[in-house]
């Protein structure tokens, strides 16, 4: 169960933009180690020259013409935001430039 050090879990959590409590970090390290031990059985399957599945059905992937058409109004698009400036039509976030 030492497959994941606390640092390793924190590295993955940072990639995923997640913050873990100490308790959750320990629990997840154990869970992920157990799950990865299980999925390691895939390594026994010979796959030399086997293509990756990229599309599972034939004929998919038709793209529609890129034409302007009606969409959500600014009001509707902002309606679910915690912090928006409807007058300016903007979502508000902590300062990024010059922070």
């Amino acid at each position: 169960m030492s497959r994941f050090s606390p640092d390793e879990i924190d590295r993955v959590a940072a990639l995923a933009q997640l913050r873990l409590s100490d308790e959750l970090r320990d629990r997840l390290a154990a869970d992920l180690a157990q799950i990865l031990d299980y999925v390691d059985r895939l390594q026994a399957v010979p796959t030399d020259g086997v293509p990756l599945t990229s599309h599972i059905v034939e004929g998919a992937g038709d793209l529609r013409p890129d034409q302007p058409r009606p969409s959500l109004s600014v009001h509707e698009a902002l309606a679910n935001a915690t912090d928006a400036n409807e007058k300016a039509g903007l979502f508000r976030v902590p300062r990024v430039i010059g922070a």
Binding site: I9, V12, A13, L15, A16, Q17, L18, R19, L20, L24, R27, L28, D31, L32, Q34, I35, L36, Y38, V39, R41, L42, Q43, V45, T47, V50, P51, L52, T53, S54, I56, V57, E58, G59, A60, G61, D62, L63, R64, L72, E76, A77, A79, N80, A81, T82, D83, F91, V93, P94, R95, V96, A99
Partner: protein, 473 residues
């Protein structure tokens, strides 16, 4: 009009009855919201139509419940997550538009595992759903609320989504029919994404033909979902569906271990029923099926980690209170960590890890290769059989709390269902018996891609030979 007509005499009366039944079924915790205003307006409009126009609507007045990861304009849509507790969908999913156009009336949004991640409904931020057959049991997951309301007779139809078995397994646990269409058959526009190469919307109903009629209403290409295809239309079985000559593949090796005796017995009985009606059994090999679970949990979590990156507290969803962060990056992390439940965090981390530098080839790339081998096994099988039969789940409905502390044990419950998602194939669960405790067992049939005509015909033929299946007391 066929003998299977699902349409009620009056749409508004049926809507009121369904809304009252939702209230009466409150102990199941299967419904997160009702859509009364929308439902009553729609039902009244249908009742006001001239008879000929009403007759032309295949689902006129049929009350339908939606899994809460399907957007319906103006209704709260949580996907079972705290992070979407305040989210009100600003548009209709394509399936909702199509149900509306067919005359159906959407009455309720159903509880589900958070972001459709789970096999027991215990991962919902709004509490577990109870199985109508036994309230201390899981209804299955992740479409557990959808299955419970149909099994309890609240509505005749619910929609679910199936990424690794999330329509079929709860249908099996609740004693109803659950259909996962071929990948590409039904648009996912307006479905909250989990694993985009696997997700498919489908119906949960009491009978196979009803599932077919609902699928006919929602299927078809959609310019807003580029994975939908111009597939040939399929036929819903008529009153006569013969078993005579049906070639049924049985993967004996896969069923040799890890299946409860009662489930095995019920499935063997179902196969015997099919043989008595003239079907022919063929032993088949699916040599890579034993790798389906690890393959699925690598592919699904990798895709989930990307899909769930959109929940950042900016455009929609929970944002952490101002005191909990000091810049944009910590706002993202605080909002996400407060909004996601434990299983969602577990899957995001697993998916992020398997896609990260140094691990991609060993995990994700390998899984996508094994996925190809799993698909080839099925293609080989369908050269000589019409459908493949096996249990939907290795057990009947287990007790709430029984597996929730052991994620790997929970994942293994999906052993028979994930292959159809990995290969994009249509599959259906049909009730085929009950265990010693009286809990339903599901028979799963799988057909070749876009062979819904064959799948529904075989399932209806079995259902006819089986006879009526009981409802929970």
């Amino acid at each position: 009009m066929s003998a299977l007509d699902m349409r009620p005499a009056g749409a508004l009366a049926a809507t009121e009855a369904a809304l009252a039944a939702v209230t009466a079924a409150a102990p199941l915790n299967a419904v997160l919201a009702t859509t009364e205003a929308r439902a009553r307006a729609r039902a009244a409009a249908i009742d006001a139509l001239p008879a000929a126009e009403r007759e032309a609507l295949p689902l006129a007045g049929v009350p339908i419940a939606l899994k809460d990861n399907i957007c319906a304009r103006g209704t709260r849509t949580t996907a079972g997550s705290r992070i979407l507790e305040q989210f009100v969908a600003p548009y209709d999913a394509t399936v909702v538009e199509r149900l509306d156009a067919a005359g159906a009336v959407i009455v309720a949004k159903c509880n589900c595992d958070e972001f459709a991640m789970g096999s027991s409904n215990e991962n919902s931020a709004y509490g577990a759903v109870r199985n109508p057959w036994a309230h201390d049991r899981t209804p299955g997951g992740s479409s557990g609320g959808s299955a419970a309301v149909v099994a309890a007779g609240v509505v005749p139809v619910a929609l679910g989504s199936d990424t690794g078995g999330s329509i079929r397994q709860p249908a099996s646990f609740c004693g109803i029919v659950g259909l996962k269409p071929t990948y590409g058959r039904v648009s996912r526009y307006g479905l909250i994404a989990y694993g985009s190469s696997l997700d498919q919307i489908g119906p949960l109903t009491r009978t196979v033909r009803e599932a077919g009629h609902v699928l006919a209403a929602i299927a078809g290409p959609d310019p807003r979902d580029a994975t939908t295809v111009h597939a040939p239309a399929f036929e819903v079985p008529g009153p006569e569906a013969p078993l005579q000559g049906l070639r049924v593949g049985v993967p004996r090796a896969l069923l040799a271990s890890g299946v409860d005796d009662d489930v095995r017995h019920a499935v063997e009985q179902a196969l015997a029923t099919m043989v008595a009606g003239g079907a022919v059994l063929h032993d088949i090999e699916l040599p890579h099926a034993e790798y389906a679970i690890p393959t699925y949990y690598l592919v699904a979590t990798a895709e989930a980690s990307a899909n769930l990156a959109r929940y950042d507290g900016v455009r929609f969803g929970h944002r952490a209170p101002a005191g909990d962060y000091d810049d944009l990056a910590s706002m993202y992390a605080a909002s996400r960590s407060q909004g996601f439940g434990a299983e969602v965090v577990r899957r995001i981390l697993l998916g992020t890890y398997v896609l990260s530098a140094g691990y991609y080839d060993a995990y994700y790339r390998k899984a996508q290769q094994v996925r190809t081998l799993i698909t080839r096994d099925y293609e080989r099988a369908f050269a000589s059989v019409d459908v493949v039969a096996m249990p939907t789940a290795p057990t009947t409905a287990f007790r709430l709390g029984e597996k929730v502390e052991d994620p790997l044990q929970m994942y293994l419950a999906d052993v028979f269902t994930v292959s159809a998602n990995l290969s994009g194939l249509p599959a259906i669960s049909v009730p085929c018996g009950r265990d010693g405790a009286g809990l339903p067992v599901g028979l799963q049939l799988t057909a070749a891609a876009f062979a819904e005509t064959m799948l529904l015909r075989a399932a209806a033929a079995y259902e006819d030979a089986r006879g009526a299946f009981p409802s929970p007391a």
